[in-house]
Amino acid sequence: MSERRSFIRPYGDRLNDGAVQLSFSLPMSLSARSREAAKSIAGRLGLDQIRLVSALDLGNGFSFYILYGTTMVEIDDQAIHLTEVERPLLDFWRINQLLEFELKKRVTVVGATIGTDAHTVGLDAILNAKGFGGESGLERYPQFRVVNLGAQVPPDEVLEAAREQRADVVLVSQVVTQRNAHLENLSLLAEMLEAEGIRQDLLLICGGPYIDSQVALEVGFDAAFGPGTTPLAVASLIVEELLRKAQ
């Protein structure tokens, strides 16, 4: 059974029962009042048949709640708007072929994890020869030239490198997102590239486990990749976009 119907609701025990599980803490000691508050919050989120199944005191005036409830919300299957594009993946051979014979150039990719972020594993998974998920990284593609600047790179150094290396693509990784640290970094880089007048010569792509595509596009990126991204997905997009730009 794959897509069953065109209106979709959560399923717990039966089709369309709308069953949902919820949990959160409250800045209140555990009491009858706090339990009531927890149930009210679930109610205000539009849940029905609310069952408060666990209420735990966390100490120091806090408490934690686990609830189940049902929702009437349903999603029209036909009207789902994809922000995450499911692009047809090209293969290694086809990518190199397109670059060599259609785009007719070797593509320079500059990659970096910017700001104070020191997480390199994600970007390396895309760039390093070793790759990710059984796929080779971009370094292994004869038609890509990869310059990996590593971690904790200030945006101005990325700009510098992009200019020096005559980059076709800039790939930035952002993993630390607490207090939206990544948004500041990403916007800053996009603005700097714009201000220096080289933004339009580049594909500007970011990635990381907690990046919201929508927001990334808003701050000026061409594309964003989330958790589980494979090198092939990135390479495919690059080829597609560069060919489109070249036309």
């Binding site: 717990g12 025990d13 408060l52 666990s54 735990l56």
Partner: protein, 523 residues
Amino acid sequence: MRLPISSEQVRHCRKLAASIAQEVKAEISPLSTVSVERSLLRLVGIEGSNQESVPLVNCFIDQITGQRALEDGALYWLSNTILATGESPQGIAERVGAGSLDLVRLPRQPRRAIEDLCRQIVQDALVTLFGKQRQRREMEESLARAPSPWLYVIVATGNIYDDIEQAKAAAEQGADAVAVIRSTAQSLLDYVPEGITTEGFGGTFATGANYRLMRGALDEVSRRSNRYVRQVNYCSGLCMAEIAALGVLEGLDILVNDALYGILFRDLNMIRTMVDQHFSRYLLGLFDTIIVTGEDNLIKTIDAYEEYSIVLVSQFINEQLAKNAGMREERIGLGHAAELDPALQDSFLKELVQAQLVRQLFPRSPVKFMPPTRYKSGNIFFAHALDTLFNLVSVWTDQAIVLLGMPTEAIHTPYLQDRYLSLESALHVRRAAGSLGRELRFLPNGQGAARARQLLAKTEESLTRISEDGLWNSLASGAFSAIRRTRKGGRGYDGVFRKGQFYQNPFLSREIVRRARRETAAT
């Protein structure tokens, strides 16, 4: 990772249990029950119900009971009628159901002819069933073998169609066995409901039609995922024998079948239950079906640490009763459970010891280990942690069948995703800790070993007392979880009868069984 226990003591326990079982067998041999008789009718192919939705097998037995002719048994009257009317068993049953045929009024046919016909009918039925069994085993062998332990999950929506969707999902997620939980208290019904059912409370009715639908669904996933997924249901209650027949007819792989459960937890009559369990096990043994017993129930309401030995006592008795009914140890899945209070000091160690002890006492049994339920609360995260530890004990001590605990145990019958999360944890533990039992040893003088010895001593003591008092008196005196039952009390006693002089049941004949096997092998 063996516990240092005295094998002498183990042998003694087994001997005591054997004598308890032997006494029971002697008493029940001359008896049969309405449920056994209905099961015979089912086995020879009678199915369906009448216009008032009464199953035809019930109509048949009710009619002869009403005429005080039950003592000769179902097969006698069926054969007599066939000889008298030339009709088919199903045709006869339908006329009985419609009220247009009076079985006892027909002239009695020659005894010899009846006997011959009975044997013929039964032999034919057996050939068909052995044939089905062979096909099923062939299918199983054509698929990849499930790793050990088997991961067993339940579905319990009340609606067989939802059950099927969820069972298929569970099978794809890695379940090795799927049980459909029964609608609550089906044990108390003295008939098996008919047809496909979509309403139940806390579970789904066990019916032949529901069995068949689920079987088809599981066979489909089994083939698709190249892993034989076992179908489980409950063979207990007033229809124990009939459910066994249905299980055999519909190709179920495992049946939950406990000799004492109905007596203790459903207040069924003890004689009735003993007769029923004997024949049900005989049947299941014939078709090499696995049974699993329900010792988890024994420690659900008492102190599971102090009184744990009752589990072992019941296992020894269940084992011997099943062996007396002709089952081999490899098919007697004795049950036990991890129900210690998590607040107990060293509860993990204690569970480990108990699990290992059971494994060691019954080395050939496909023992079934059941997860924590009593001390679970609505805190699904902590429940998941407890279950993960349970999974570890299961894998480590090499249990054969593991019923997976659910994070939402204290909330609802499992949701689709609950089963996924349980399987995910169990699959991980099976992969991550598969060799643990081969790598570690218990210290011979640790508290673990002491606990094992203490449990075994207590078990021996209880078995000694029960064998002295006899099982009936022990059930009356509260030897099992402090529940007291009287010999003639409880539901279903009126369905027990002493077999009359014309009584026929060739299923019990070694000769017929041998012939049927030979005939099956030849085709």
